[in-house]
């Protein structure tokens, strides 16, 4: 099962992923309804941004919260899917999601999350700094460990 992984040391918070995801999923430029969203902490001391996107959790809180039982986890792929026909936009999934991933679509009046654009994610294609990858969790873990090791090495070198 492939997942979207964000390399935070490469992410500049440019928001291009958010802008293009909105066009791909909603057909209009509407960053607030994008399935990948930047969250910024805007103050002068600690500018910070993070990315909210569905993590397809092993035990999804949204699945438990859904009042209509329309959220399911595919046992083969591990992806969390929604039967949007029955969704009436109560947003219980958004309340329970620890990552703030579900978003309310103001045109369909339903909740939505990242569905990987059917296997060819737009955010991966448009990210100017290649900070977004669509990869197996094991590959994501390997690259995270490599970057951490490099950082550790740099810190040690500086110390010596």
């Amino acid at each position: 099962m492939k997942i979207i992984s964000i390399q935070r040391d490469k992410c500049t918070g440019c928001g291009i992923c958010q802008a293009m995801c909105a066009v791909a999923s909603c057909g209009r430029a509407c960053p607030s309804e994008s399935r990948i969203r930047l969250r910024r902490q805007w103050d002068s001391e600690t500018p910070f941004h993070d990315v909210a996107i569905c993590r397809h959790c092993a035990e999804p809180a949204c699945l438990t919260a859904c009042l209509m039982d329309i959220i399911s986890k595919n046992p083969a792929t591990g992806h969390v899917a929604r039967d949007t026909d029955k969704c009436f936009g109560c947003a219980a999934c958004a309340v329970m999601c620890p990552f703030g991933a579900p978003v309310y679509d103001t045109e369909t009046h339903k909740m939505a999350t990242c569905d990987f654009c059917g296997g060819d994610p737009v955010c991966v294609k448009v990210c100017p700094h290649s900070a977004i990858k669509y990869e197996e969790p094991s590959e994501a873990a390997v690259s995270r460990r490599s970057r951490q090791a490099e950082r550790f090495y740099e810190v040690e070198e500086a110390r010596l």
């Binding site: 490469k10 802008a19 293009m20 066009v23 791909a24 430029a29």
Partner: protein
């Protein structure tokens, strides 16, 4: 959106002397290219007063490369000008439901403008006098209902330079002077609205093609504000120096057409022929047939009216 459907363009006309805000809704294509001509016809009636317009193009905020582009037009006694810049203010204005701001007159006491909820309001800025730019920006963000608002402000305490969202300095003395002559301290814009795109699949395909030209790695991509290469809606190919220099438009400027359309195209863009690309994207957004020649002719006509 079919080509026969009309898209509303909202213009907020702000009289600082009388503390009044008037909203005009012009229906395009009747009002011309992106509402520019409607906005300019309004300023025609204000010839005796200092006027500052903040103008967005049809592509501003759509997410296409360089779509953070927005323009300033000013007129004051003996001088006038038209300049374009890139940043978040233009896109945020459109998400707030306002396409153009026309500000005129002079406020008795310092004020700032808040653009949100398809309207604009004049707010008291007397309490901001002793703040530096960071304090003022923090305060104005807190006042906005939208966590993702954009703030363009200046304070004497921070050298009197116009700064957008803490980090990007707008190096334009004329625009700063107009702000000061109007007693206008800041413009804040934020909203959760959307910009319709007529043919989203084609638009997405064009944008993906452009974004596939990855910028060369630069030292310093990292957290926004730490020498980051880009910020929200800025062109990914621009230099990461934290400065924005509004580009004054002169006659026969080749970059006028794409900038008027809402694309901040400069020599760093990986592809030549900016006008053709802007026209292609415009056709997708507006569901109308545009080509480089039509765009350039329209741009020249608007420029002639603006200055």
């Amino acid at each position: 959106m079919s080509s026969t459907e009309k898209s509303a363009v909202r213009i907020a006309v702000i009289d600082l002397s009388k503390q009044r805000v008037k909203l005009l809704e012009a229906v395009w294509p009747d009002c011309g290219f992106g509402g520019y001509e409607a906005a300019l016809s309004v300023t025609g009636g204000l010839r005796s007063r200092p006027v500052l317009c903040v103008l967005t193009g049809p592509l501003t905020g759509t997410g296409a490369p360089g779509s953070g582009c927005y323009g300033f037009m000013w007129r004051e006694k003996t001088r006038s000008g038209l300049a374009f810049t890139e940043g978040r203010l233009g896109p945020m204005m459109k998400f707030a439901g306002i396409n153009h701001l026309i500000i005129h007159g002079h406020a008795e006491t310092p004020v700032y403008l808040s653009v949100e909820g398809e309207s604009a309001s004049i707010c008291d800025a007397a309490g901001l006098q002793d703040m530096d730019i960071a304090q003022m920006t923090d305060f104005l963000y807190a006042q906005s209902d939208y966590g993702d608002a954009s703030v363009l402000a200046f304070t004497e305490k921070s050298g009197g330079v116009l700064v957008e969202d803490y980090r990007f300095e707008h190096h334009s003395a004329e625009i700063r002077d107009i702000f000061e002559s109007m007693n206008l301290k800041a413009v804040v814009a934020g909203g959760a609205g959307s910009i319709p795109i007529g043919r989203p699949k084609e638009f997405l395909k064009e944008c993906i093609g452009l974004y596939s030209h990855k910028p060369a790695p630069e030292k310093g991509p990292g957290r926004y504000g730490d020498g980051a290469a880009t910020g929200f809606y800025l062109s990914p190919w621009r230099k990461a120096d934290g400065k924005i220099e509004p580009v004054n438009i002169t006659d026969n400027d080749e970059s006028l057409a794409p900038k008027l359309a809402g694309l901040f195209w400069d020599e760093a863009f990986p592809l030549p022929d900016a006008a053709s690309y802007a026209a292609k994207l415009l056709s997708c957004v507006l569901s109308e047939k545009w080509d480089a020649k039509k765009l350039e002719t329209t741009a020249k006509r608007i420029h002639a009216k603006a200055v």
